[in-house]
């Protein structure tokens, strides 16, 4: 569906309401679900004592496609479901992005970040009753590597040598190259643990969910494609991360993830009480939901915020002056105010504000159209009769590739187009289906690309901008490359963050990227649902704290 532009009054109302919603959800995520007198509207924060035994229906926009936790499903919606079934070695704390013990009580790495030793928690069992041991960890990691690209865990195991069972409660994972991002990767759903009987099934067969057994707080009852995934509580669950509020057995007896592809149908189902929670709330629906007095749980996504990245193999992208001029001409605040609401932050740098290791680079993110023109003229560009800069007979008309994976994108890129036009740069917008877009990135026939990428670790900078990874942007910057490689070999968090901070500064001062706005994930809750929270990756956390009246 197309984006409905909000009137300025509606926008202001939306901004106010969203700010209120943010404040409320901030309360709900920082308070225990006990009474909170400061909260004036009904939210999970003031709803009293959890009720045991409720059933929750949660509407999601996409069919999970695969309920194999390591399978390639449909992204967030798949992970909302599979997160409930499996536990991980570590838990990433949404409050600060730090790693906390979960199935691993402690972990340490060797100096060059190639060996990771995990000490495992005692008394953890899979829902079929078999114990979770060091052998389980080895079996799961070996299985992920054997599955190769079919496993969404594969990217975390680049350079994997082996997992060694030291004793029943100790495992050592060895890599041939440094992988300082590995401990964070162990917190992901993809590296969650499945029982031996599940691992015996061929990888593809696990997609249907039959025989998929984990240690998580919920057990898969059934998955019906394009309809629903039903989970039931796992009775003896007692090994949630101690730092999370709900570490014990869940309050809910049953969770149904109902597929509802149409955003307006999800919204209507929530307001009419047919479901108690919805995911994939569209920015245009935020106002509707708040108007209906419903609570929104929101969190800015970690990773790379929405913005522009240059293709530095193109004539336009390889010219630093042009990159600088375009950076100066883009006005992120104006874009955020027009395309979105205040619930979406203006980007502070190449990483979103919820990413561990984020550095505030906003002092380098300057909007100055007059200076943009000066920079171009100093670089030998001259305005033609049509008001567009040209040099050597070639017009400054970069191609900007984008897709509608986020509904406000069209407004954002069209605004960028007009902002640049005002300076004298004639942006050509290009859009297409996902496959065409991927092909365009791969063959490099673009100058600028609009997009984002969610991931809760600063290593996302390396996977995006290093020439040794996918290398869609072909950035020729040895200093940057060196920083990106070094951070992956640095285990000390402070030291690693310092390297990441330098990389972030380099990315904006060299104008490799132009960060614009962050993505915020919104969940809508009915007045009956409480304690539903988003994790450090801004995806649904395990529903151990949730209950319904």
């Amino acid at each position: 569906m197309s984006v409905r532009p909000l009137s300025s009054r509606a926008l202001r109302v939306a901004i106010g309401l969203t700010a209120l919603g943010l404040a409320l959800s901030a309360c709900s995520s920082s308070e225990t679900p006990a009474a909170d007198p400061s909260s004036s509207t009904s939210s999970s924060a003031d709803a009293g004592t959890p009720v045991d035994g409720g059933d929750l229906t949660f509407a999601i926009g996409n069919d999970p496609i695969s309920v194999n936790p390591a399978g390639i499903g449909s992204g967030n919606d798949t992970l909302y479901v599979t997160r409930q079934i499996v536990d991980s070695l570590t838990w990433q704390d949404p409050s600060d992005g730090s790693l906390k013990p979960w199935l691993a009580t402690t972990w340490e790495a060797n100096a060059d970040q190639t060996e990771f030793t995990f000490t495992l928690r005692d008394g953890v069992t899979f829902s079929d009753g078999t114990p979770f041991t060091a052998a389980s960890v080895k079996a799961n990691f070996d299985d992920a590597v054997a599955a190769g690209a079919k496993s969404s865990a594969a990217a975390s195991f680049i350079g994997y040598k082996e997992t060694t069972v030291v004793d029943d409660h100790t495992v050592k994972v060895t890599f041939s190259t440094p992988n300082a991002a590995f401990p964070q990767a162990t917190s992901s759903v993809a590296l969650g643990f499945l029982a031996d009987s599940t691992l015996k099934l061929p990888f593809d067969d696990r997609a249907s969910g039959t025989g998929v057994i984990g240690t998580g707080p919920f057990v898969l009852d059934h998955y019906t494609k394009d309809t629903e995934t039903v989970l039931t509580a796992s009775d003896g669950y007692a090994w949630g991360p101690a730092d999370r509020k709900g570490a014990g057995a869940p309050h809910l007896a049953k969770v149904t993830f109902q597929v509802a592809p149409e955003a307006s149908v999800r919204t209507g189902s929530l307001t009419s009480g047919q479901v108690q929670a919805i995911g994939g709330v569209q920015p245009t629906d935020i106002e509707t939901l708040q108007g209906a007095g419903l609570e929104l749980v929101s969190r800015a996504n970690p990773g790379i915020p929405f913005g522009l990245t240059f293709n530095e193999s193109s004539d336009i992208g390889k010219d630093p002056a042009v990159r600088e001029a375009i950076s100066l001409a883009v006005n992120p605040t104006e874009i955020r105010d027009t395309a979105l609401s205040e619930g979406f932050k203006v980007a502070v740098g190449p990483l979103a504000s919820t990413t561990p290791g984020v550095a505030d680079e906003s002092s380098h993110l300057v909007t100055d159209p007059a200076k943009a023109a000066n920079v171009l003229e100093a670089d030998g560009w001259a305005k033609g009769s049509d008001g567009i800069y040209a040099k050597g007979g070639k017009k400054l008309a970069p191609t900007l590739a984008w897709i509608t994976n986020f509904s406000p994108n069209q407004t954002s890129v069209e605004l960028i187009q007009s902002e640049l036009k005002a300076v004298g740069i004639d942006v050509q917008l290009w859009s297409g289906a996902v496959p065409d877009f991927q092909a365009k990135l791969a063959d490099g026939s673009f100058d600028l690309v609009w997009g984002n990428l969610s991931r809760a670790d600063g290593d996302v900078l390396r996977t995006q901008y290093s020439t040794t990874a996918t290398n869609f942007y072909r950035i020729d910057d040895p200093t940057l490359e060196d920083l990106l490689t070094k951070q992956l070999a640095t285990g000390d968090v402070t030291e690693r963050n310092a390297l990441l901070a330098q990389a972030q500064e380099r990315l904006v001062t060299q104008h490799h990227v132009i960060p614009v706005h962050e993505l915020t994930t919104y969940l809508g809750l009915s007045k009956k649902a409480h304690g539903i929270e988003l994790g450090a990756d801004s995806r649904l956390d395990q529903l151990t704290t949730a209950w319904v009246d």
Binding site: N62, S152, T224, E262, Q274, P435
Partner: protein, 341 residues
């Protein structure tokens, strides 16, 4: 009759093969292959070797003609391959998706024939010019209303405002009602438009006057004499309508959050899950071909001239001009029964 049938059957098989081949070629012409699409965004750390291994596993590394022949061979044995997204057999995905779609499409078809047919009969039988004019203005409206909007409106009224029917999922009969109405709307409009024009034309035929002159009642003449003859072009449209129902299922199942062939099509096209898309096209083509085969069998029962007069130019029972402009499909309607065979 046997020759006639054998010919239709052979043609049907030809259509199926063509559908399979054209889909294969079109899907192959799309940029990117399923493997690189799946690993486009989030998992950018996959090594090229791992991707190649996966391509080899799915046979995507083979030259195009080899892939075509291998897949066609498997398809002939009833193996449509596996989804590249989740590894499930395509035949199972389709087998699971067919019943819910058949449920709403079947209900919609019955509804459309009753409503569309009824409207046409009443509109042509009534002596009130005002009623007739009103009724005849409805079908163009029905064709013009976007089913996406119509479906959302139904959900809004009869599920969110007045909780009569569930908005989501496949929950028994109650959840069939709104989708069936949504699907039936354009279909019934098409049938009504076709049948009313055809009826109006037939009612002007001399034999109608003859029947009336011989003392037959208006109702009898209308229903027995005229309707039977007027039904032939409408029957042809019904064949096309089945195709329309299948494509309409994409929108309807999305709006009503129902599993089925439409959703399977939408999701597999989005993911460029080539084996699934190809399987869906093949199934849709099969349904289409079977329905038309069935109609070809029914034709001679309604009008024996179709078989006996195969080589003679026979005046069609009604003129082909009755085809509404909105019928998007192959020009079967315009071929008067027996005309060119």
């Amino acid at each position: 009759m046997t020759r006639y049938l054998a010919r239709r059957l052979l043609l049907a098989l030809g259509v199926l093969w063509a559908a399979y081949t054209v889909t294969f070629l079109i899907l192959f012409a799309l940029p990117g292959d399923p493997v690189s699409i799946m690993y486009g965004g989030d998992s950018s750390d996959i090594t090229p070797e791992q991707l190649d291994a996966l391509r080899a596993q799915y046979g995507l590394d083979q030259p195009l003609p080899v892939q075509y022949v291998t897949q066609l061979g498997h398809a002939l044995q009833g193996d449509l391959g596996n989804s590249v997204v989740n590894g499930q057999p395509v035949t199972r995905l389709i087998a699971d998706a067919l019943p819910p779609t058949a449920q709403i499409a079947g209900s919609a078809l019955v509804l459309a024939i009753l409503v569309g047919g009824g409207l046409a009969v009443v509109a042509t039988a009534t002596r009130s010019r005002r009623l007739s004019g009103f009724l005849l203005s409805l079908p163009p409206l029905g064709v013009a209303i976007p089913s996406f909007w119509f479906g959302l409106t139904l959900v809004q009224w009869f599920s969110f405002e007045i909780p009569l029917f569930p908005a989501l999922g496949n929950q028994g009969f109650a959840s069939v009602v709104l989708p069936a109405i949504t699907l039936a709307l354009p279909t019934s409009a098409l049938i009504a438009q076709m049948l009313s024009r055809s009826l109006l034309h037939t009612l002007r035929e001399p034999y109608v006057d003859t029947a009336l002159a011989k003392g037959a009642g208006r109702t009898r003449v209308h229903l027995r004499h005229a309707l039977r003859n007027a039904a032939l072009p409408a029957l042809t449209v019904t064949g096309l309508v089945i195709g329309g129902l299948l494509s309409g299922a994409v929108v309807t199942e999305t709006v009503f959050s129902r599993a089925g062939l439409g959703r399977l099509t939408a999701t597999s096209v989005a993911a460029q899950d080539i084996p699934v898309v190809q399987g869906v096209v093949l199934v849709a083509a099969t349904v289409y071909v079977l329905v038309n085969l069935l109609i070809d069998i029914i034709y001679p029962l309604l009008d024996p001239r179709i078989v006996t007069g195969a080589r003679r130019r026979v005046a069609p029972p009604t003129t082909p001009t009755a085809r509404p402009a909105s019928v998007p499909a192959p020009d079967r309607v315009a071929v008067p029964a027996g005309g060119s065979r």
